[in-house]
């Protein structure tokens, strides 16, 4: 069942005629060089950028949703996250409940449990390490229980342990009847965790399909201008630049 149906979504030249579907229990990895339009696409889907084209969420036109309904359905984990205030971890996670206008302790502690942040609950966000903080930001989005979770490079600044942890959380979240779109630079991890891959370049979707269809030497080398070594048969799969 398609949670998102997009037809020729465009934002000036940054996003050009993007069409795709996002299905229930699916995790789509968005890959592509810097400036390819990955963030723009995620921002459009979460209502941060005006766009042209047709966008259906659960078969309802996007602009028929109230901002609150939209926020309840779609959660965004932005690329750069920070806060000036020295908030406690549980208060940060509780902010995820704003679309629901409550502070449901049970859902908040579930979100913290999923991300392994429950032990940090009383700590101040500015005393945490980068890896701990990234999981708190993720817990904040999960606390909103969005049907569709959009994550913009959630593992960009993490060590390999936390990269696997965060991707694992996203994968499990998708499998529990939700759907996830994640912008990601690590192609091996994309191959390992994503159901489908969306390759973007210069504002356009160049290819969208299964791992085997998109992670090919031809497509990747023309998109990134480097030759790559691909071994999808291995477990975990490997996609590395030469």
């Amino acid at each position: 069942m398609a949670l998102i149906t997009a037809q020729s979504l465009s934002v000036d030249t940054r996003l050009q005629a993007a069409s795709f579907e996002l299905n229930k229990t699916e995790i789509i990895g968005i890959i592509g060089p810097n400036g390819a339009g990955k963030s723009t696409l995620l921002h459009v889907l979460s209502g941060l950028e005006p766009f042209t084209g047709q966008l259906l969420i659960n078969d309802h036109p996007f602009d028929h949703l109230s901002t609150n309904q939209r926020a309840q359905t779609i959660g965004l984990l932005p690329q750069e996250a920070s806060t000036v205030w020295s908030l406690s971890v549980s208060d940060v996670v509780a902010l995820g409940r704003i679309p629901w206008n409550d502070e449901d302790r049970e859902i908040i502690s579930q979100a913290m449990h999923l991300t392994g942040t429950q032990d940090l609950s009383d700590r101040k966000i500015d005393t945490l390490s980068g890896g701990e903080r990234a999981r708190v930001w993720l817990a904040r989005v999960l606390a909103g229980k969005p049907q569709i979770l959009l994550a913009d490079e959630p593992i960009a600044s993490l060590d390999i342990h936390y990269q696997l942890a965060v991707m694992g959380i996203l994968k499990r979240y998708a499998q529990q009847g939700h759907a996830v779109m994640v912008a990601i630079h690590d192609l091996s991890l994309a191959a390992r965790y994503c159901d489908r891959i969306c390759l973007m370049k210069a504002g356009k979707i160049v290819a969208l399909g299964s791992i085997e269809q998109v992670l090919t030497e031809d497509l990747l080398s023309s998109a990134f201008n480097v030759s790559v070594q691909i071994d999808l048969q291995r477990s975990p799969p490997i996609v590395l630049p030469h």
Binding site: T67, A81, T83, L87, S88, D91, L95, G96
Partner: protein, 328 residues
């Protein structure tokens, strides 16, 4: 902690109010005075309590609440612990507006409301210019834009003072600008109380936005909050609070900066939970400062705004010293 904080602040405010009503040159019974005044009995206690100390106390409470609340709202909105009504140009804008009306006798048809309306307009224009100039919520830009607007307002205000029609008018303007809650009748509350209610409601409705904004514009927007509309309403609310309090009581500096700063650790740094405690603590602080002024030896009275600046400025230096770590 938040559960005991508000009742504690309320109790403290009641105690300070009582102290403010009972302290004065002439000893009178507060209760007798209040009862007589409410029953319209023209006794000496009724006159002293009802006509002198009650307006002064209520004004101090209202002005303190307005300044504390607007400071908390602006700091939350701009995500900057150094944002303050006077640092973002609102106070100077209000002073300029009110002084210009005072000087040129504009809006004569509004009667005693004229300076309040002018103060309000001045504060709104100054804040809008500041936001336009800063272009975003980036702390450094907001402070610089605020400085620019304050400087311009200050310069124009100097021109107004320079060309004051006579020394007496100039003295009156200067004394008013220094900030005070004494010698004002209950009618100044007719301006301040409605503004306090409207400004508070505007800001209170945006408390979720202030909470959401603590994680940045994008997160707030994705949580379904309307950042641009909400920011404008918050600025309008703050401008109403600052404009009306400056137009009635002149410049009472540093309250809006310090009060939220002192309260912040007590509410777990949450900008939405900071609002109400800041209003209460602002009332307490201004009321206490006004009592301190009355404790000073008689003679020429030290102006309230002068005292808060004298006490507030060193605290501001200390605050900057602490904040330095963030910028270095």
């Amino acid at each position: 902690m938040n559960r005991t904080l508000i009742p504690a602040l309320c109790l403290l405010l009641l105690a300070v109010t009582w102290l403010s009503l009972s302290y004065g040159v002439i000893p009178v019974s507060v209760l007798d005075g209040l009862i007589d005044w409410l029953q319209n009995v023209s006794s000496r206690p009724a006159l002293i309590i009802g006509e002198i100390r009650l307006p002064r106390t209520l004004l101090a409470i209202a002005v303190g609440a307005a300044l504390g609340l607007s400071g908390a709202a602006l700091q939350g909105l701009l995500r900057n612990p150094l944002a303050e009504p006077s640092l973002v140009g609102a106070s100077q804008g209000a002073a300029l507006g009110a002084a210009t009306v005072f000087y040129f006798s504009l809006f004569a048809s509004l009667g005693s409301l004229a300076t309040a309306v002018a103060g309000l307009l001045g504060a709104i224009i100054a804040l809008l210019l500041m936001l336009g100039l800063a272009g975003s919520g980036r702390p450094a830009l907001v402070i610089m834009a605020g400085l620019a607007i304050s400087t311009i307002s200050g310069a124009i205000l100097a021109v107004v003072l320079n060309f004051a029609p006579n020394p007496y008018a100039m003295q009156e303007l200067v004394f008013w600008l220094l900030g005070s809650v004494s010698n004002r009748g209950l009618d100044s509350l007719y301006i301040l109380i409605p503004s306090l209610i409207v400004g508070t409601l505007l800001i209170w409705q945006q408390r979720q936005l202030l909470a959401g904004l603590s994680l940045g514009d994008k997160v707030a927007e994705s949580l379904g909050l309307s950042v641009s509309r909400g920011s404008r309403l918050t600025v309008l609310g703050a401008a109403i609070l600052v404009g009306s309090s400056v137009s009635v009581a002149g410049n009472i500096g540093f309250v809006g900066l310090l009060v939220p700063h002192i309260m912040r650790p007590l509410v777990g740094h949450r900008p939405d939970r900071l609002l109400f405690p800041s209003a209460l603590a602002g009332s307490i602080l201004v009321c206490v400062a006004d009592i301190c002024i009355r404790l000073l030896p008689p003679g020429r009275e030290l102006k309230l705004g002068v005292l808060t600046s004298l006490l507030g400025a060193p605290l501001f230096v200390w605050l900057l010293w602490k904040e330095r770590k963030r910028w270095l």
